[in-house]
């Protein structure tokens, strides 16, 4: 592998000697080798003028010089590239407090070529115990894209940082190499793209478009469920990319094996790589996230307040951010640091109203979920389809509502407390092995919220 930077520097030294200084500084300034591909050197130039002029006037000389330095050079092409190096943002310090605030445009840059939001990077990703595995897998992918963990599949509930993580991989891979084609697409966008291309009879250009990417990132794959034709297209696309060792990254809100309406052949392909989940953040991670977000906003916040918020707002990261944002806003308005009482008032408005769910409600929801008659829960029947929901109800009442064993037994048609203990233990054990059961419990819990 040739060091293209060194090659171009050496070439420039030779070119400089053979042409006038005016010409050299006008046309060769800001040029570089964008990439080298099977003997063709692609020279990145700043504009069309330089492209035309180099190709017209200096092509022979450039080719000859490059060939003299590296034998394998067979041809030279010119491409117009943007110069990213200039984009340094240091103004902020020099601005006086009197100037206008800026429009918050910074947050809305999305690169049209790859759809990646540059804000999502590994630097801003907070690592905690809960997302360690997913993060490690993502890091491994950035080191050897297409080789380890292909495809990488990240799943977790909404607001747990899936999109951030998979976009961070994309941004990182893009930064590593300019010529690498990274593309981020939501499954919804993919479906629309596919349908439009079919309507316009441009199926081939659709295939070509997606097959050219070196890294394809597809978000929220669960929306593909039941869209059979799109799934088939994805299947073929997957094979094409996979065979060429192109990295593929997916995300969804549940384990791919449990996405209903997803074809088995896709599921089995997802299983071939690495499947990592991002569960709910643990309290320590919530604190870490709040600290980082507060620092990003240049907001100083007392430690005890952070711990208080982390304890109060237990939902996903987005809710944490929302709570923090309203806190920042309020304290800017009042012009002082808020105390715990004021924080409590703000969070009260912010927090989702906690419903008081009665055990009856639980029973109703669970029996609805399993489509059995509510009454049968109370009866002494031992039919299999009733026993499991009944045990589940006991488990949930015990775990989530901390109701005593005897009173659970009483509420479920006068059962003995040992029966209840046994049921809870059984479900607890089953949860360790039975992924489907875990999903079901999660879904029921979300119904009860």
């Amino acid at each position: 592998m040739i060091d293209t930077k060194e090659l171009w520097e050496n070439a420039l030294v030779e070119v400089e000697l053979s042409i006038s200084k005016a010409n050299f500084s006008t046309w060769f300034k800001n040029t570089h080798i964008a990439k080298m591909d099977s003997g063709i050197v692609y020279i990145g130039v700043p504009n069309q003028f330089a492209k035309d002029w180099l190709a017209e006037k200096f092509h022979k000389m450039i080719l000859k010089t490059l060939r003299g330095l590296a034998e394998e050079v067979r041809g030279v092409e010119y491409v117009i590239t943007r110069d990213d190096k200039k984009r340094e943002r240091e103004r902020r310090d020099t601005r006086s407090q009197f100037t206008s605030n800026e429009l918050p445009l910074e947050n809305f840059y999305i690169n049209k070529n790859d759809n990646l939001n540059p804000r999502y990077t590994f630097d801003t990703f907070v690592i905690g115990a809960f997302n360690q595995l997913a993060h490690a897998a993502a890091q491994a992918v950035t080191q050897k894209p297409g080789i380890v963990y292909n495809p990488l599949f990240i799943y977790g509930s909404t607001g747990h940082g899936k999109t951030h993580l998979i976009q961070a991989i994309g941004n990182h891979l893009k930064k590593q190499s300019d010529s690498r084609k990274v593309f981020y697409v939501t499954s919804e966008r993919f479906t629309i793209d596919y349908i439009t291309s079919m309507q316009e009879g441009k199926g081939n250009s659709f295939k070509e478009k997606y097959r050219q990417y070196d890294v394809l990132i597809m978000d929220d794959i669960q929306f593909l469920a039941t869209k059979e034709k799109t799934q088939e297209e994805l299947f073929h696309l997957f094979n094409a990319l996979y065979d060429n060792n192109k990295q593929i990254i997916f995300s969804s809100d549940i384990n791919p094996n449990q996405i209903p309406g997803l074809e088995d052949r896709l599921k089995s392909r997802f299983n071939a790589g690495m499947i990592a989940d991002i569960p709910e953040p643990d309290p320590e991670s919530r604190i870490a996230i709040l600290r980082t977000k507060a620092a990003q906003n240049n907001f100083i916040i007392p430690e005890e307040i952070i711990e208080y918020i982390a304890g109060e707002v237990q939902g996903n990261i987005r809710e944490l951010e929302g709570a923090l944002n309203s806190l920042i806003c309020q304290s800017q308005l009042k012009g002082k640091v808020l105390n715990q009482n004021e924080v409590r008032d703000i969070l009260k408005n912010n927090a989702k109203p906690k419903k008081n769910v009665s055990p009856k409600e639980v029973i109703k929801r669970v029996s609805d979920f399993y489509e059995i008659d509510e009454q049968s829960i109370y009866e002494k029947t031992r039919k299999k389809e009733v026993v499991k929901p009944r045990q589940l109800i006991m488990y949930i009442l015990r775990e989530d509502f901390s109701i005593s064993y005897p009173s659970i037994g009483e509420k479920l048609g006068g059962r003995d407390h040992t029966t209840v203990i046994h049921s809870c233990e059984k479900i607890k054990n089953d949860l360790k092995n039975d992924q489907i059961l875990v999903q079901e419990v999660e879904q029921i819990r979300s119904l009860l919220k």
Partner: protein, 367 residues
């Protein structure tokens, strides 16, 4: 080279190209105009490697040839020849000679060797635009573009299609202007960012032209304009414009409607009293139905001006940079304007009342 043509035609063609050829310390030939003859036309070209212009005029060509001549010298020479005179231009070795019945001037010329080619029009996309619509779109927003290149994508006018309309946007991240104009041609105008300095040149040339339509061609890196006998090609800024729609506040916390002329007069008066930061203060009190604008400067003094307005919403005390407000007024064509505030620290939205085609956002200043 030897040719003969009328003074007015030649002067017009030079005036299109002369401004582009500026000072260029690295490649002196770029300060020149390139004169080239072909059959019975004279082509005049200039470029600064960011934008290139080619203007052609009919001429009586006696001998074909190419020559590069310093732009400002040539321009000033031709400009000061009385109109309706026939001019003969001949080139020899290192000079060109400009001859009229009563005068003869010799100007040192440059070697044409190093004069770059002007890129031909892109073939990927082309459309016909009504000249006045295009001019309106650019001039309504271009003053808001950033004049630094810290963020290259903000130092241009962003153009993109929206149904039957074409939208022009520019922002320097302190304020943002958006104008929607009807595009009678194709509705697929590709998203592009034209460097704002180049848009000014394009507008100048379009305005000077007698034609009503301009042909625009675009590819990923380049945009070109053909109108009458002039061809312009400009670099496009290679970057993505922020998704600015998301920062337009959806709500109305405080709305103030004033007559444009009243507002302009008050702002003019305030401008006498502002400090070097151009700061003015709005104090809006819906209960008293009162809008007051204050400005003060340590050197001059201070002023407090009330303005007749219809007010709704919350009371507010907020500061702005006067210049940003003054800039926008010429581009609002309604008699009255709506100022929609969204609370402290949030952008102010300015529109002409009953005019949806134009929108202006300004960020407030800190205390």
């Amino acid at each position: 080279m030897e040719l003969e043509c009328g003074q007015p035609e030649l002067l017009k063609a030079i005036s299109h190209t002369e401004r582009i050829a500026g000072t260029n310390p690295t490649l002196p030939v770029l300060t020149c105009l390139l004169l080239e003859t072909k059959k019975n036309e004279l082509f005049i070209r200039s470029t600064n490697l960011d934008i290139g212009v080619e203007s052609k005029i009919p001429a009586l060509i006696k001998k074909e040839g190419v020559v590069a001549v310093p732009a400002s010298i040539f321009y000033n020479t031709i400009q000061n020849i009385s109109p309706h005179t026939k001019i003969t231009v001949t080139s020899s070795n290192e000079n060109i000679t400009v001859k009229t019945p009563t005068s003869i001037s010799t100007i040192k010329s440059f070697s044409v060797e190093d004069f770059p080619t002007i890129p031909p029009a892109p073939q990927e996309y082309s459309t016909i635009f009504q000249k006045k619509h295009f001019i309106e779109g650019i001039t309504s927003v271009v003053y808001s573009a950033s004049n630094t290149t810290i963020k290259p994508e903000l130092s241009g006018v962003y153009i993109y299609p929206d149904g039957k309309n074409t939208i022009f946007v520019a922002t320097d991240s302190f304020r943002l202007a958006e104008k929607s104009v009807v595009n009678t041609g194709d509705s697929n105008f590709p998203q592009s960012i034209i460097p704002y300095k180049n848009t000014l040149e394009v507008i100048r040339i379009l305005e000077a032209s007698d034609d009503d339509e301009v042909e625009i061609k675009i590819n990923e890196n380049q945009i070109s304009f053909s109108i009458g006998r002039v061809y312009i090609t400009s670099r496009l800024i290679n970057g993505s414009f922020p998704d600015y729609k998301q920062i337009i506040p959806p709500s109305k916390k405080t709305e103030v409607i004033v007559l444009k002329d009243d507002f302009a007069r008050v702002l003019k008066k305030l401008s006498i009293f502002t400090d070097s930061f151009n700061q003015i203060t709005f104090i809006i009190d819906p209960k008293k139905k009162e809008v007051r604008l204050n400005a003060q400067s340590n050197n001059v003094g201070e002023t407090k001006d009330g303005i007749d307005a219809s007010i709704s919403g919350d009371e507010l005390d907020i500061r702005f940079n006067l210049k940003y407000l003054v800039d926008v007024l010429p581009h609002i064509h309604s008699d009255s304007i709506a100022l929609v505030f969204n609370g402290p620290g949030k952008p102010l939205v300015i529109r002409g009342v009953s005019d949806d085609s134009f929108l202006y956002l300004v960020m407030p200043m800190n205390k």
